[in-house]
Symmetry: D2
């Protein structure tokens, strides 16, 4: 369709009913706008600030829900993995394995993902330059897996803020399809509460800039009730605003496709 693609879903898989409802809503919107859609959900959350943060409903249970979403709506799925042993397990259920930003320098993990033959989505570390992501991409390719993409989720700016460096979009597109994660790019980490904050009012600003600068895809976490989501509520988009956002981004994409 010439449009950008979308990785979207809740942050974590909280239950089957919730996953199916979110997927159904996004499928409806993306079919109308001709946006290729990959359903996203974490099957566990391993890197939380506090030990009492939500970590998941059970690994296989969550992965089976991802498979059910895929079968029900005919869409591919993506989930993130945190240890080598997760790679093979998750690869049985999903189409894209995502390496979290904090872990993208762990060679063993990247190689384990690459060796499954699945698409690998490498999140740019908050501490990495766009240029340096080339080394992570190379690690996947050296496993004879050419299906690799990168996702920018912002860069540390002081202790408690992040900035998206849009020079990174064309820079990373030179070596891999490049996605902008508009949810985590707006995090405000290291808050005194131990719970990461955010700027959800800036989602459309960041997303528009991403599409205008040539991003191949957009990553958004969305929920019917962000305030009560079990993780990342501070940045998730209320799903009622999703269609309007994607419609605007599609219009910008059509414009730049004409250049």
């Amino acid at each position: 369709s010439g449009n950008f693609f979308l990785l979207a879903g809740p942050c974590a898989i909280e239950g089957e009913d919730m996953a199916l409802r979110i997927a159904e809503t996004i499928v409806g919107i993306t079919e109308k706008l001709e946006i290729p859609f990959i359903f996203k959900g974490s099957f566990k959350k391993a890197n939380r600030s506090r030990i009492d943060s939500f970590t998941g409903i059970g690994d296989e249970k969550a992965l089976k829900i991802l498979r059910k979403v895929s079968e029900t709506f005919g869409v591919p799925t993506v989930t993130d993995i945190h240890e080598r042993e997760d790679a093979q397990l998750a690869a049985e259920y999903v189409d894209v394995l995502q390496i979290p930003a904090f872990l993208v320098r762990q060679t063993d993990l990247v190689v384990a993902a690459a060796e499954t033959g699945k698409v690998v989505n490498l999140k740019k570390g908050q501490f990495m330059s766009p240029e340096s992501m080339k080394h992570a991409v190379n690690k996947v390719q050296e496993c004879n897996n050419e299906q690799v993409m990168v996702t920018d989720r912002g860069t540390m700016f002081g202790y408690q803020d992040m900035i998206v460096d849009f020079r990174g979009i064309p820079t990373m597109r030179e070596f891999a399809p490049t996605v902008l994660d508009v949810t985590h790019s707006l995090q405000q980490p290291n808050q005194s509460s131990g719970v990461t904050g955010g700027r959800p009012d800036m989602i459309e600003t960041i997303a528009r800039a991403g599409i205008a600068t040539g991003a191949d895809g957009i990553f958004i976490e969305t929920h019917f009730d962000p305030a009560n989501a079990k993780s990342d509520g501070a940045n998730m988009l209320d799903i009622q605003y999703l269609e309007r956002l994607l419609s605007n981004l599609t219009a910008i994409r059509k414009t730049i496709n004409s250049f």
Copy 2:
């Protein structure tokens, strides 16, 4: 016209012939694209890294050239001032007084500019948050001058790089019309040579993101021969690429105007 406005010209006024030729070219492009145009040229350069850097051709000589550009093409002009006494002098020749980023915290200078009654363009300090520019805007308004705009020219990121934080565009638009300076935002300061470097290949990337996020204006330094310009050659746009750039930005602007 609903289009963004443009502040453009050479970095410094190097001579009358050069100023008129640059102005003529930009006027031709901006009339076609219905872009309101303000001709920009510095009448002196006071804040150079090295004492042997170019500082100008003579203050009044340069200001008279700015007036001639204005009279010849019927366009307003903008120049930057560095000391209180510059304000009254420059105000006799130009329409917009610009406060350089390094000087935007100098209350006396801002007040002197405001008191001329001219439009004041406040560059955001590389060390300032978008939110904190509100205090600088207030200083102009407290002099009973409501004609004030702000210009983002990037934010320090480490010693030798700058990033544009596009969250700043909607943030600053809440208190003043907001311009994105795509030339200085791409500077790479503190190079060991004592001459600031740049990333001119990123001009269109940054400019597109600016228009997509709602910037009211764009600031570009341009020259027929950037490599031989007397200052800021590392980031100026070769004027042969200007029409294509402005045409693309106009298309994005029309798209977001339709939202």
Copy 3:
């Protein structure tokens, strides 16, 4: 004495009595500890965030107080200047002219200070690398004034915080005597109130690190009643803690002198 030297005093000269009392107290301490002392006071404050911030008691009035401190206690004095015309005026009253960090790239101002023949103290811009201060030092030396020193006052770290990069101390000592300003290095700028915040609890931490890494001098603003000081109250040291601090720093200095 082999000891470090001290630039200290209130932020701004608020009145003669206050200046003399602060000077007397510091003279008493520094004579005992054999610390060469330069009394510091601003005769005006030009770069405040807000237009309603305190800007001074009158230029000549404040300068005369500085001269009186010098005559009364036999100590040299330092003040900061903000415009070229300040240089000659201030040079009639004080021994050291200080260029504020925001203004250290203003060649005209640096040259005006250098040409008075007085000692010039260049504050490192919050946006400058230690290495790049060499260019500012060169500007003074090219005016045939070899009496130049540099002062680190921290480097921007995100929008609302500063960090001291102690690698800068030996780096800058290669081209000029180097002072650590422990007051402004602890500023927290861009606060939403428009009034800069601070971390005065960290004064001794930063000061000890400065002396241990070889700083030639320490700059401290101090006051009998920081909470009621007319500027910079957020970071000034309560003068009752000054002797203990300087005594500890002197002990560290003696230790590193023995290496």
Copy 4:
């Protein structure tokens, strides 16, 4: 002895002979200076920038060398772990389990280390504030393991540089013994070669500031021939300079112990 403690050794265990020779040299120096010493060596390197970087000589082989060092010289040992399954294995051989900076947010890994009952050394993430390390410390303590310390190894400053924020030393000491890693704090990451650079000339500067600000321990990687070390050669200290450095630091420590 009242002195600081030292974690030191080569970056990676390259072989038994080399490990024993380095340990013997450090033991000789630290006994003379009364510095409690913990021998450090990585048994594998999992987080290299490039897939062709050195990753180790074999896990158990390297761990057995660590045990031999401990038995030969009567010193405790520390090694870093990268996956949950490493914790139990490494705990059979060493006294301190270290969590790498990139992994300190991985709750599962921190918990696995804590549950071995060994001392846990948590490296501060380059993207974390000193304050936020409290949450990581809490995760260890909630496993009923009070033997936890933290190590600062610098904070990202732009893409290609790091700074040590010495305010972090007293801040982290409020919740755990705090070590300064003078080797990794001087890394210069994201270099275009894919090999991290460094500033080994600044080791003593950073180390002195650490001891002066109260660090409980110092972490140094050292080698007989840094230029030919299999990893981190850019920052390791040539072991011939170690005694002089530790002697100077001991003198500063004695001075501040007297305050």
